[in-house]
């Protein structure tokens, strides 16, 4: 009895998902046996992927009852927004976990469209859609059994910090097990950086990449990975692949470049970066091997899907934020 009283109080941990694919939750499981270490220091109070729960269970908690909430996924509807606000209220420390919560992530690319055009596609003209009545989701529907409510779908996809105050960020799509454990250890030991920080390293993926870079890098032609035989030793950027490694925060151990795939940028911008897409774009175009402007234009023009490449994970938090909405009417 006396022993138990002396034992340090376990960390009250909540994990939640919003607009996400589930990968971040899998990443937590990916730490394998170390999950036991987590369980040793933390009471997992909420984890929808593993345990049943109801809204009312959360509502019953006292404010600040949860020490740390790991929130993954972007916010793009009213239910997600509600839960984000609710969990904020209940948690001392809110962590944006994974790229979607941190920067908007892949769902953030929906900011190239808006609710109207997304509904038109999804409930209208995609190949698998059969919807002769043109039915689209409504927040309120009256049926004989009563009123049905479903969450409202927003025009924009938001990062977590765009809707509630966030203390820390853990990037990655998904965060690697090492990143997860670094974050858990930092939380468990209380050895946390200043509020607002990203838990991770300050150097770019290039720092961890083993590939050789020439002294004066140049890009002769842009390619997609499937179009060339990738040299296993040479810098991918110099082979014409739009590798985001130089503009992306490290910490992943340069996983993708290590297996001949260009970095996709999932760990997000560097600490001093204002706009990771602009950083990468201006860097790559600066080293295009072109004699004059027309040549440069033609070579850069060969780049496939520049917006999806440079803002793949960060569009909602970028300076662009979103595409212009179509004019009403």
């Amino acid at each position: 009895m006396g022993e138990e009283l002396k034992a340090p109080k376990k960390i009250q941990l909540a994990m939640y998902w919003a607009a996400s694919c589930g990968g971040c939750d899998m990443a937590v499981l990916d730490v394998n046996e170390k999950i036991l270490d987590i369980a040793a220091v933390a009471d997992i109070r909420l984890w929808p992927i593993a345990m049943d729960y109801k809204y009312k269970d959360i509502e019953k908690w006292a404010d600040g009852e949860i020490d740390v909430c790991l929130f993954n996924g972007a916010v793009r509807n009213s239910e997600q927004l509600h839960l984000a606000r609710l969990l904020r209220q209940k948690s001392k420390v809110m962590v944006a976990f994974g790229s979607c919560a941190s920067f908007g992530g892949i769902p953030g690319l929906a900011n190239l469209h808006c609710k109207k055009t997304i509904f038109e596609a999804v409930y209208g003209y995609t190949a698998s859609t059969v919807n002769p009545e043109g039915t689209t989701p409504q927040t309120h529907t009256h049926v004989p059994e009563g009123d049905l409510h479903i969450p409202e779908f927003f025009d924009d996809v938001y990062s977590l910090a765009q809707v509630i105050p966030v203390e820390y960020y853990v990037p990655g799509c998904p965060p690697t097990p090492e990143t997860v454990m670094t974050a858990v250890n930092a939380i468990a030991t209380g050895n946390l950086p200043p509020v607002g920080s990203t838990i991770g390293i300050s150097k770019a993926v290039c720092d961890e990449c083993k590939r050789t870079k020439s002294d004066k890098p140049g890009i002769v032609e842009f390619h997609r990975p499937q179009e060339i035989f990738v040299d296993a030793e040479k810098c991918l950027l110099e082979q014409g692949l739009t590798c985001m490694g130089s503009a992306t925060r490290g910490g992943c151990g340069s996983l993708c470049p290590g297996v001949n795939m260009p970095c996709r940028g999932c760990y997000g911008p560097m600490p001093n970066s204002l706009d990771v897409g602009a950083d990468a774009l201006s860097a790559m175009t600066s080293i295009v091997d072109a004699a004059e402007e027309g040549d440069a234009r033609a070579k850069v023009g060969k780049m496939v899907d520049p917006l999806g490449t440079f803002y793949r994970f960060t569009l909602p938090v970028s300076m662009l934020r979103r595409a212009a909405r179509p004019l009403q009417g």
Binding site: S202, K203, A204, V205, C206, D207, K213, S214, D215, K216, P217, G218, L237, G245, S246, A247, G250, P269, M270, P271, N272, S273, L274, D279, A280, S282, A283, M284, S286, I287
Partner: protein, 653 residues
């Protein structure tokens, strides 16, 4: 602590106040956050204007100063100094340009005033985020590199050497002397060009402070003002200078003849040669390209006849390194490629010459020993001199070449004197602006030279009349008569345009200089600093900056020398602090920045594996800052936060 900003709006007489309501600008500024003092004054750059800034810093405890006036190129240093004198770090000063960017380019007073307010607002937004910076002081190497041994380079080298400072004079051809050495007489005094130039050339050779390197070229330039490291390629001469006695026997015996560059290809020289008889140095070199021995391994006739045994077949190019504090670029001018001038008969008719070809024809050491003859040896009875061939011509060079009118007058005088031929000058305008030039023109008018006001349209040999048969015919519209004339002559001299040297672009890059639209090297300021470049410590002398006659070239050379000397005498130089800096914690060594710096300030540190910037070489242009994908290079005084604050202020405030 919140910044305390003072805003000072300048009238610049009526330059700004004539269009912009300066009082309204000051009143608007007074209402912005952190602005604690705002006023306007007639001339902010004047002593009382600077005094206002200094007083306000003390009285209102200002921590930032914004002056809204002209371009920072004009008065940023003035106000930085004023701030420093009042105890404020000079980098806490910001200049808003409401003259060049506003009042000078607008007429609508209301709109211009609103724009001026916008401009000042963006400067205030930036000023709030300014950071104090410290300029570094570095010492200056007391030695000057002069590139080019024409009269500009000679003048500059002698002035500096006479001031007691060491000079390295690099010339790419065998001898110094440049174009001036090719001339026979000079206008308007008709001095013998060689007679006034060769004493200066000899002084160069004899001067203990001048290290003369002919047959040499600058290969690379590194470093920054006060501390340049220069690599000079000394091409193999194959003649040992210490042993050679300049006897000249080899020049007679060498069997291989090639066109002489010095004589514009009108005469030949040998493979072992000196450019001209008074060449400095007088010791010849072997031109490997044409030498029979180097081509097929046989000959060596020069060696056989060389009594002092000075020929060295195993000589090789050497690259020497020099440390200098300043560089004077005096690489001179070229001429427009005359083969593009077929309209005026060049290359089609043997008796159509360029001006420089005529100089050699008229010269005592030239192909005819100074007799003016047609190609067939006959003396011309009539000669046409066509002005502005390729100059003042949208199809070729838009500028005036500045020397042609006067040398055309000189030619006319010399032709009349030597041959009594009828001389026609076809001109657009006579530009005789120098000392004694107009007088020379008047003298020529009385010597019976015919002046036809009209640019020559073409030169043909297709005769329309018996009178024209067997002659060249110059067609031109005389704008005084309002008639198209056809004038048959025996010889045509083209006053072809002066042009930048063919390799001007490479030379500009080598020394970090810009070029103006005409292709000549760009001066720092067209009026006040025509002898400086945008690169500190690199100066311009002579016609590499723009076409010049001899007096202007000499004056320009002396001006460049005195500017270089004021740097050398000072002994130290302050290096700009508004430069780029690497945040080593964020640099992952991706090397993407390595090739973008136009000034060679970037390198890669092999041990720490991060980029490095030499703050003394960096100009703060921001190219690497924009290139760095990792946000690891910061442009001091122009950082992202400051620039975004300006953009926000322009659109959101």
């Amino acid at each position: 602590m919140e910044p305390r900003i003072g805003v000072f709006v300048c009238h610049c007489g009526t330059n700004i106040a004539g269009v912009v309501d300066v009082r309204r600008v000051a009143e608007a500024a007074a209402a912005w956050p952190d602005v604690v003092y705002a006023t306007e004054y007639k001339f902010m750059c004047s002593d009382p204007g600077q005094g206002m800034v200094k007083d306000a810093i003390v009285k209102h405890n200002l921590t930032r100063v914004v002056v809204a006036a002209c371009s920072p190129r004009m008065h940023e240093p003035t106000f930085r100094k004023a701030c420093a004198m009042a105890g404020l770090n000079p980098y806490l000063f910001e200049m808003a340009n409401i003259r060049e960017h506003c009042s000078w380019v607008h007429e609508d007073k209301e709109a211009a005033t609103l724009k001026a307010i916008d401009i000042v607002r963006t400067s205030v937004a930036k000023a709030r985020l300014l950071e104090p910076l410290q300029a570094r002081v570095v010492s200056v190497t007391p030695k000057v590199l002069v590139v080019g041994g024409g009269v500009a380079g000679i003048q500059a080298a002698l002035d500096i050497a006479n001031a007691g400072t060491k000079v390295v004079l690099v010339e790419r051809s065998q001898s110094i002397g440049g174009h001036m050495a090719q001339l026979d007489k000079t206008f308007p005094t008709l001095d013998c060009s060689a007679c006034i130039l060769t004493p200066k050339m000899v002084q160069v050779a004899q001067h203990p402070n001048i290290d003369l390197m002919t047959w040499s070229e600058v290969e690379s330039v590194e470093g920054f003002v006060g501390n340049f490291k220069v690599k000079i390629r000394r091409k193999a001469r194959y003649v040992d200078e210490a042993t050679c006695t300049s006897c000249g026997v080899c020049l007679e015996k060498c069997p291989k003849k090639v066109p002489s560059e010095f004589d514009e290809g009108m005469m030949t020289r040998k493979s072992i040669f000196r450019s001209f008889p008074q060449a400095v140095p007088g010791k010849p070199v072997i031109d490997k390209e044409s030498c029979t021995y180097f081509k097929n391994g046989k000959c060596k006739i020069c060696e056989i006849f060389c009594e002092p045994k000075a020929i060295r077949w195993d000589d090789e190019d050497r690259v020497v390194e020099e440390s200098v504090g300043a560089i004077i670029v005096a690489t001179g001018m070229g001429l427009i490629d005359p083969h593009g001038l077929g309209q005026w008969g060049y290359g089609r008719f043997p008796n159509v010459l360029t001006g420089l070809e005529f100089e050699r024809l008229n010269n005592a050491t030239g192909p005819t020993g100074g007799r003016i003859t047609c190609k067939d040896g006959s003396t011309p009875k009539s000669v046409a001199i066509l002005h502005c061939v390729g100059s003042r011509d949208r199809n070729h060079k838009e500028y005036c070449s500045r020397v042609c009118c006067m040398y055309a007058l000189k030619f006319a005088h010399l032709i009349k004197e030597k041959t009594h031929a009828t001389v026609y000058n076809f001109y657009i305008d006579m530009r005789c602006f120098g000392k004694g030039y107009e007088e020379f023109y008047n003298r020529l008018l009385h010597e019976g030279v015919k002046f036809i006001r009209g640019k020559a349209a073409y030169v043909t040999n297709q005769a329309l009349t018996d009178e024209e048969t067997g002659h060249l015919v110059v067609s031109a519209e005389s704008t005084t008569l309002g008639q198209v004339l056809r004038v048959p002559v025996d010889m045509v001299i083209l006053a072809s345009a002066v042009a930048p040297q063919k390799d001007a672009e490479a030379v500009a890059r080598l020394f970090g200089m810009g070029r103006s639209p005409d292709g000549f090297f760009m001066e720092k300021h067209p009026k006040l600093e025509p002898f400086s470049t945008a690169t500190d410590g690199v100066y311009l002398a002579g016609s590499c900056q723009s076409p010049k006659d001899i007096p202007d070239t000499v004056a320009h050379g002396a001006a460049a020398a005195s500017t270089a000397m004021s740097l050398i005498s000072r002994g130290t130089v302050e290096v700009e602090a508004a430069v780029a800096e690497v945040l080593t914690d964020s640099c992952s060594g991706c090397k993407i920045c390595q090739d973008v710096c136009p000034y060679g300030a970037l390198s890669f540190h092999a041990d720490t594996r991060v980029a490095e910037i030499n703050g003394s070489v960096c100009k703060g242009c921001g190219t690497c800052v924009a290139t760095c994908p990792s946000g690891a290079i910061v442009g001091r005084h122009f950082n992202d936060r400051q620039i975004l604050a300006q953009i926000d202020a322009a659109f959101l405030w």
